[in-house]
Structures are given as structure tokens and as C-alpha cells.
């Protein structure tokens, strides 16, 4: 007799709107006001425009490091919209939209992109960390932020974002396991955009879903249509509120796609994915389906669309102006932020570099 080994996916999959904008799961339809629904659409259109501008600005050398987000708006904006301002976000490098909609000024995002220290100076009342470059580090830190909320008795939630590739890091498993072991208020969001640079998710793992990685950590795992903003919001809201009420962490996998290159630093997607695959995903576009849904309800018009586009362009221009006005960094200033009290050798080095001017 052989032992029955479980290989089937063990997680639920949630979709509220199908690709044509029809409601396919009314039980899962989140309770959002008309105004909130419009806000979701506004943010997705705004973000698409900002992304397109950022891609162009990077090509022109006016921004530095940039990882495009088009295609992932529903995952990014739907999940952030389910958080409260006091909740704390630990992002990856691609997660600029969540940070900006959580309160990070857009011009700071641009300064971060350029490689200016002002980007990382997060305003006191904004609950985020800087974009994480070291893939996986934010997941373990998220367990720590969540434990802090639990120890302090604060009803706040820590949220970490990573990609499909990020789920292969040891830190990913450690973070889930720690948060589970401490029953800490954390939500881990994996945006499975199918590729880690050029590596398809099938080469990343033998697991059928990324959400099922929650099983080994003993926490709930759920997969959601990451092109469906209502599904993402619904699943995220449930996880965030469960964590807030002491119900422990959740892992959410958003199944999505990035339309653009990995980053603007030389990646060429035609080397590793076909036009057919790209087209297939573009048919699932999060903006198109949600717009259709809202238009049918009379909640979104051509005029709304145009006004949003104008406002986004205006905001980007304004943020660029502000970013351009940031003072030039100096080496002595950077030495100053190394420690609270500068050790003697750095005092000497500071003087040496200050003298150079």
C-alpha cells in the first residue's frame, strides 16, 4: 500500500468580476459606497498614467531606477485600499503605488528613483518603509512590525509585498512562519506577475499555487484574481480585519501580470515571453473590466476618465518640479546620517571631505 500524498492545490481562488466586467461571485462583492468605487477607478487610471509618464521620464534620463507597474494596478491599489492609514506597509521596489496612495508624496518617490536621500525621508505620519531592494527582507521584518503592534496592544496591521520570485527566498518562509508562530497581525501579499525578471514562475517552484505556501506555516492562504480590483479588495479586507482583531496572519497571492519590462535598466521582455502571452493578459486588463462594471452602474463616464488623466499628468509635472528643487547632497551630510553621535574617525573623515568642497 502506498501512502496518499497530497499534491492538489489546497487554497481557494477568488474572482468577483470576470474579464467582461460581469459579477461572477456576488457573495464576495465588497460593501463599498459609490464614492469608494469611483475612488478605486480614479486611482487605477491615475496610476496607469503616472506609470506611463515615469517610463518615458526614465528613458529621457529624468528619473533613475524604475520598475513599471502597468497590469498590476488592481493588485496594488485594491490591496492598499483595504488598509487603514495607521497600518504599516513594507514594500518591494515595484510597490510605489501602494506607498503613494498610503501617503508617500509622489515627489519623494521620484527622488528615491533618482537616488536622492530625500526619497527615503518618509514623513512622520506616513506608515511605510522605503522600497526594499533585497528580495525577502521585508517579509521577515513584517513579522517584527506585526509583533510590535501586538506587544503594544495597537490594533494595527503590518503588510508586506513581494513578487513570485520573492517566495523562493528563505526569508519568505521565515517571515510567514514567524508571524504564524507569534500569531502576529500581518498580511503577506504576493503579486504573482508570472516572471521574476526572465524566470517564469514554473521554474521558481513545483507548487501549483504560491498561496499554498501558507499551509506549511499554519496560516490561511488564498489566491485571488489579481486583475480584479474588487476581488483583491475583498480578500485583502478580510485578511486585514482578521489580523486586526487578533486572528493572525494571512498569505494572499494575486495572480497578475506586468505589461512592461522588469525595470527600465535594460530588460527586454521579448527575450523570454511571447506576444501571445502578453495579449492574453492584456485582455484581462484590470482597468477595462472595472470601467465596464462602473459604466453599467452609471458611476464612471468618459468625462471622469479624461479629468483623471489630466489630473494625473498635472500631478506628475508638479512632483517633478518639486523633485528638481531638492538640494544637492554632499558627502559630509551623508556622513552625518551614519550615526546619532559621529565616532572620531568619521569626524576626521567629515573634515577631510568638507575641505574638498
Amino acid at each position: 500500500m502506498t501512502t496518499d500524498v497530497q499534491t492538489k492545490p489546497v487554497v481557494p481562488y477568488v474572482q468577483v468580476l470576470d474579464e467582461q466586467g460581469n459579477v461572477v461571485d456576488s457573495d464576495r462583492m465588497p460593501k463599498l459606497s459609490d464614492e469608494e468605487l469611483r475612488t478605486l477607478m480614479y486611482r487605477m487610471v491615475f496610476t496607469r498614467i503616472w506609470d506611463q509618464r515615469a517610463v518615458r521620464l526614465t528613458r529621457q534620463g529624468r528619473l533613475g531606477f524604475y520598475a513599471p507597474v502597468s497590469g498590476q494596478e488592481a493588485s496594488m491599489i485594491g490591496s492598499e485600499f483595504a488598509t487603514r492609514k495607521e497600518d504599516f506597509i513594507l514594500p518591494g521596489y515595484r510597490d510605489m503605488p501602494q506607498l503613494v496612495w498610503h501617503g508617500w508624496p509622489l515627489y519623494k518617490a521620484f527622488l528615491y528613483s533618482r537616488g536622492h536621500i530625500e526619497g527615503g525621508r518618509i514623513p512622520e505620519d506616513v506608515n511605510i518603509l522605503m522600497p526594499q531592494i533585497i528580495i525577502g527582507a521585508q517579509i521577515v521584518q513584517c513579522a517584527g512590525v506585526a509583533l510590535a503592534f501586538k506587544l503594544k496592544g495597537e490594533k494595527r496591521v503590518a503588510i508586506a509585498y513581494t513578487g513570485d520570485g520573492g517566495t523562493s527566498q528563505g526569508d519568505f518562509y521565515e517571515g510567514l512562519n514567524f508571524a504564524g508562530a507569534f500569531h502576529a497581525p500581518a498580511v503577506f501579499v504576493v503579486q504573482n506577475n508570472q516572471f521574476a525578471i526572465s524566470v517564469p514562475v514554473e521554474l521558481q517552484t513545483a507548487a501549483k499555487t504560491l498561496a499554498q505556501k501558507a499551509v506549511a506555516a499554519g496560516i490561511p492562504g488564498i489566491q485571488v484574481d489579481g486583475m480584479d480590483v474588487l476581488a483583491v479588495y475583498s480578500v485583502m479586507k478580510e485578511a486585514v480585519e482578521r489580523a486586526r482583531e487578533g486572528g493572525g496572519p494571512t498569505l494572499i497571492e494575486c495572480v497578475t501580470f506586468r505589461y512592461g519590462p522588469h525595470t527600465m535598466s535594460g530588460d527586454d521582455p521579448t527575450r523570454y515571453r511571447s506576444k501571445e502571452v502578453e495579449n492574453e493578459w492584456e485582455r484581462k486588463d484590470p482597468l477595462i473590466r472595472f470601467r465596464t462594471f462602473l459604466e453599467r452602474k452609471g458611476l464612471w463616464s468618459q468625462g471622469d476618465e479624461e479629468r483623471t488623466i489630466e489630473e494625473a499628468k498635472e500631478a506628475v509635472n508638479e512632483a517633478l518640479k518639486q523633485a528638481d528643487a531638492a538640494p544637492k547632497m554632499t558627502i559630509p551630510e551623508l556622513i552625518d546620517v551614519m550615526f546619532k553621535d559621529l565616532p572620531a574617525h568619521l569626524v576626521r573623515q567629515r573634515a577631510e571631505f568638507a575641505e574638498e568642497g
Partner: protein, 326 residues
């Protein structure tokens, strides 16, 4: 002979060694189908198949642990760490595992692994990519650390590293990848590990450098000769663990003065080790203190200011002058 960039020389070396020895495996993040984010492994998967050149899941500790496991089973892994800034993720697998395998097993096992990785600043990478972390491995017994400064050496040193029976960390400066070409023979050849090169002869000052700073030092030396008529001798370390102190001592016997130009932060790194060894081996030939021309002891800086933080040609020349005057 062909004109090759450093990246082409590296691809060429990998190609030749994959062909020569079927125990050689090449793997890492994006190195298979995509040929690496810098294209160092371009075309190799096609030529040698996905059993020998392959993509791994995204995990540096996994990549380096995989290499150790393969090595004790007789393979000769060439593992890529996509950017050396991520080496901390793999520190245990390199420094406490592979580096100690021969010693801990009393010679029963060994790890003929090459860890290839782009490193170094001046190319406007995002944060945490450009650090010069080589100093960590100068203090790690059981590994060798090789840093070529030009295409010819890159090929010869990489072939030596792959044929070496112990772990070698092979660091490729990002700024040198495509910045210039050099005559590189098509056939395999080796450049010995542990041997420095005199990149420019001179009698007045010994300048010790490695990686991209060799170019900076050479340019400064030419400028100095032109404007001041002073002749610097530039030594390219090529291997920083172990350090070829003989070549340095020979030079100091002639010049009696030395400076080190280093891209890594000042304290406790390669420059400090070079000075310690000069102190032990050449102090009676010296007429002045050995100086370090380096960035300050801060975190690697933000992209907008990295060019000012790294040793600039002016700072290097000022350092030369100071060394001569003391």
C-alpha cells in the same frame, strides 16, 4: 586574436571551460534562458543545454548551497550572484560552509566552486547593488578572491578560477564590463591566481589598486607624468586574497613610497591588509607613510552622488602628491 570587452571575455572563458570539462555547471538567477542580466552567459544554455547552464529559483543561499552539494559530488559549479550586494544572503553557504569544507573533512571533500558576481560603483544602479564588499572575503579563510581589471586578465583568471580546486570568488566590476576592448586570444589560456601585475612602471611612487581603480590610477599616473614629470608605478593586484606582497615589496624597494587606491570604504579592508603586509615586509625601504585613497566609511551612497564619493581623478592626484611630500 579578437577585440573583446570584459563581458565578452568572460562569456568566452565560460564557453571554453564548459566545452573542456563536462563537470563544469553554470547557474544562477536569469543566467539560463536570458543569458544573465548583463548577458555574461549569453548563448551558453543553447549551446550546452539546460542540464549544464540553468536558471535557479530566486535565492542566493539556495544557489550557493546547491553549489556546495554539487561540488562534493564531483561537479565544478560556476554560480552567479546577480549583484554582489546580495552576497549577504549567501554568506553562510560561502564563508562557513564551502570555505571550510576541505578543512572540516580533513581533505576528504573540497569545493571547486567559482562564485561570479558583478560589483562596484559608478554605474547608477539602484541602492544595495553597487557595494564593494570584497573586504569581507579578504578576512575569510578558505576562499580566494580574484578581481580582474581588463578583458585579457578576466578571461585568463576566470579559467584559472574554474580549474582551481578551491572556492574562488570572482568579482566583475560593472563599470569595466563594456567600457573598453582589448586583444584577447580565442584559445584558452590562464593567468595565475595570486599574482599581481605591474600595469605601469615608474620610479617615484608605488600605486596599488585593483578593479576599476586600476584604470583611475593609470589615468592619474599619466596625468602626473605629463604635468609634474613624476613617474608612478601602478600595481594591479588582480587577486586580493591572497595578496602578492612580493611584487609590492619589489616596487617599494625602488620607489620608497606607496599609496593604495581603493573603491571600498576606508577601514579594515584590502588597503588595510596591504599596509599591514608592507609593514611586515618592507618598512625599512619606506621613506614615508603608506596612504589610502578611498571613500569615507559610510554606506555606499545614493546614485546621484556616487561619482563624488568614489575616488575622483582629482582626489587620487592629491593623494599622490601628499604621499610624495610626506
Amino acid at each position: 586574436m579578437a577585440q573583446m570587452t570584459m563581458i565578452q571575455a568572460i562569456t568566452n572563458a565560460l564557453d571554453l571551460e564548459l566545452a573542456r570539462d563536462e563537470r563544469v555547471l553554470v547557474f544562477g538567477e536569469d543566467v539560463g534562458h536570458n543569458g544573465g542580466v548583463f548577458r555574461a552567459t549569453e548563448g551558453l544554455q543553447k549551446k550546452y543545454g539546460p542540464n549544464r547552464v540553468f536558471d535557479t529559483p530566486l535565492a542566493e543561499s539556495g544557489i550557493c548551497g546547491l553549489a556546495t552539494g554539487l561540488a562534493v559530488q564531483g561537479f565544478r559549479p560556476v554560480a552567479e550572484i546577480q549583484f554582489f550586494g546580495f552576497v549577504f544572503e549567501a554568506m553562510d553557504e560561502i564563508a562557513s560552509q564551502a570555505a571550510r569544507m576541505r578543512y572540516r573533512s580533513g581533505g576528504r571533500y573540497h569545493c571547486p566552486i567559482v562564485y561570479r558576481s558583478p560589483f562596484g560603483g559608478g554605474v547608477k544602479t539602484p541602492e544595495l547593488h553597487a557595494d564593494s564588499l570584497e573586504g569581507l572575503f579578504v578576512q575569510t579563510p578558505g576562499v580566494k578572491v580574484v578581481i580582474p581589471s581588463n578583458p585579457y586578465d578576466a578571461k585568463g583568471l576566470l579559467i584559472s578560477a574554474i580549474r582551481d580546486d578551491d572556492p574562488v570568488i570572482f568579482l566583475e566590476h560593472m563599470k569595466l564590463y563594456r567600457s573598453f576592448r582589448q586583444e584577447v586570444p580565442e584559445e584558452p589560456y590562464t593567468v595565475p591566481i595570486g599574482k599581481a601585475a605591474v600595469a605601469r612602471e615608474g620610479k617615484d611612487l608605488t600605486v596599488i589598486a585593483y578593479g576599476a581603480m586600476v584604470r583611475t590610477a593609470l589615468q592619474a599616473a599619466e596625468e602626473w607624468a605629463k604635468t609634474r614629470g613624476v613617474q608612478a608605478e601602478v600595481i594591479d593586484l588582480r587577486t586580493i586574497n591572497p595578496i602578492d606582497i612580493e611584487t609590492i615589496v619589489e616596487s617599494i624597494k625602488k620607489t620608497h613610497r606607496a599609496v593604495i587606491v581603493q573603491e571600498a570604504q576606508r577601514s579594515s579592508g584590502v588597503a588595510a591588509e596591504v599596509i599591514a603586509q608592507i609593514n611586515e615586509n618592507a618598512i625599512y625601504y619606506l621613506e614615508g607613510p603608506v596612504l589610502r585613497i578611498t571613500p569615507p566609511d559610510t554606506v555606499y551612497p545614493f546614485a546621484l552622488i556616487e561619482d563624488e564619493w568614489l575616488p575622483t581623478p582629482e582626489r587620487v592626484l592629491r593623494g599622490f602628491e601628499k604621499a610624495l611630500s610626506l
